[in-house]
Amino acid sequence: MSRISEHPILEFEDKPVVSFTFEGKKLEGRQGDTVASALHANGILVLSHSRQHNRPRGFFCAIGKCSSCLMTVDGRANVRTCTEPLKEGMVVRRQPAIGGELKW
């Protein structure tokens, strides 16, 4: 996965880097990213798992409607990461389908 470098209409200048961690691993996003867009740019497609069958769930609606991207951010469960602005030092983790802290 990567970012768009050239575009005939839009300009995507190099924006400042925003560092964060995902499952303990240090990653970089860009200013203006949401948590989910930064994860996507880093090639992380699986954001959560379904409750009943534990199937992978990813980026789907991008407007905070579908619940597919709910994750735990800085200790807060069920954050809609597709609309949550990325901030320096954020700690992002996957969570159990019902939310809360991972217990296993």
């Binding site: 768009i4 209409i9 949401t34 740019a41 954001l47 199937r55 992978p56 769930r57 407007i63």
Partner: protein, 359 residues
């Protein structure tokens, strides 16, 4: 309690136009939008609009929002604010940010809440890599992030075809566009751009399955017969890592539903739509509706409907009747012209089911 003459819910094309029109007639407006920025879906529309100058023809969607809110001093904007409840006494509840709740008392409200994407059922439709078309646009055009390397687009209406072209502009391959109907729904000019770029638009084709373990690795498509049944043996597996669904939109009318607003199921308008009069006033009297929430159409019509509802609500709030009436008449003529001809046939058929637009 926050008090206002007019609350506009939704800061997309319809809501911005509604707020702008009412403010220009001297009404104080509170405009609430759940996003961090105003503009709704316009903020990712990189293509130029059609119509005439009054419909912002030739202007890219991304450049339209500031044009709609000319009278900013009368409009108070609340972003990151979701209206979550609507009560019989005219009080609405809102959530700003994570944890700030507020109550709003509005004399009139215009609900311009837009539409949500329809889904399609097939095995593997829940895999990461299956996106709504709007999400692909957001990822590309707002965040500059590549959704994948090779895309199967499902749906050859305007959204499917325009987003396919935007994918090409971002340097991403489009393997094919499949469309279950026998004809392409999109405007010819958009479909032609795609055809010139060598992307096959396969009518009477559908997706059967998305395959992959952790994310999409391929998709199976097949040909449909005249009764929309899969023709055995016509299956084909495409190596794609993105399946993009552009299979239509449904009006978002949850708030009106909470209030028991009269609605009717009209497939041509995207599903359940509120009944309303020629000024877009719903059966609830103090609540108006505009844009895709009133019936899925497109952004140009949404802007005109917003202006119409804004002027109609302003007239009831004591604005200059002649000035409001002039805007209303102009908007109604403008909507008629947008809905003329074969392109507007479906919308006209849908609207006629709403008993000629009267309650």
């Amino acid at each position: 309690m926050v008090e206002t003459q007019l609350l506009v819910v939704g800061g997309g094309p319809a809501g911005l136009a509604a707020a702008g029109a009412a403010a220009s007639l001297g009404i104080d407006v509170l405009l609430a939008d759940e996003g961090l920025k105003l503009g709704g879906q316009l903020v990712k529309q990189t293509h130029k609009f059609f119509g005439s100058r009054e419909h912002h023809a030739g202007v890219r969607g991304i450049d339209i929002p500031p044009l709609l809110l000319a009278n900013r001093e009368r409009v108070t904007v609340l972003t990151d604010t979701t209206i979550i409840g609507c009560y019989e006494d005219g009080v609405l509840t809102a959530l700003t940010g994570e944890d700030k709740y507020l109550k709003i008392k509005a004399q009139r409200a215009i609900l311009a809440t837009g539409a949500s994407e329809k889904f399609l059922s097939f095995p593997g439709n829940d895999l990461p890599g299956v996106y709504g078309a709007g999400a692909v646009q957001t990822l590309m055009n707002q965040y500059g992030v590549v959704p994948g390397q090779r895309v199967l687009m499902v749906g050859a209406g305007n959204i499917g075809v325009i987003v396919s072209y935007q994918l090409l502009q971002a340097g991403i391959q489009v393997a094919a566009v499949v469309e279950a109907a026998p004809t392409i729904g999109a405007y010819l000019v958009h479909a032609s751009k795609l055809a010139r770029a060598g992307v096959p638009i396969l009518t009477r084709h559908t997706i059967l399955e998305a395959k992959g373990q952790e994310s999409v690795q391929s998709a199976v498509i097949a040909k449909l017969d005249e009764n929309w049944q899969v023709i055995p043996g016509s299956e084909e597996e495409l190596a794609v890592d993105v399946v993009c669904l552009a299979v239509g939109l449904s009006p978002v009318i949850d708030l009106l539903g909470q209030m028991g607003c009269k609605t009717k199921y009209v497939p041509e308008l995207g599903g359940e739509v509120p009944l309303r009069d020629a000024g877009l006033k719903t059966s609830l009297g103090w609540l108006y509706v505009a844009g895709d929430a009133a019936g899925v159409e497109e952004a140009s019509a949404a802007m005109v409907e917003g202006r119409l509802a804004g002027a109609a609500a302003a007239a009831e709030l004591g604005a200059d009747a002649a000035a409001a009436g002039a805007i209303i008449a102009q908007c109604q003529a403008s909507l008629d012209s947008l809905r003329r001809g074969p392109v507007g046939a479906k919308i006209r058929a849908g609207l006629s089911k709403l008993e000629g637009g009267t309650l």
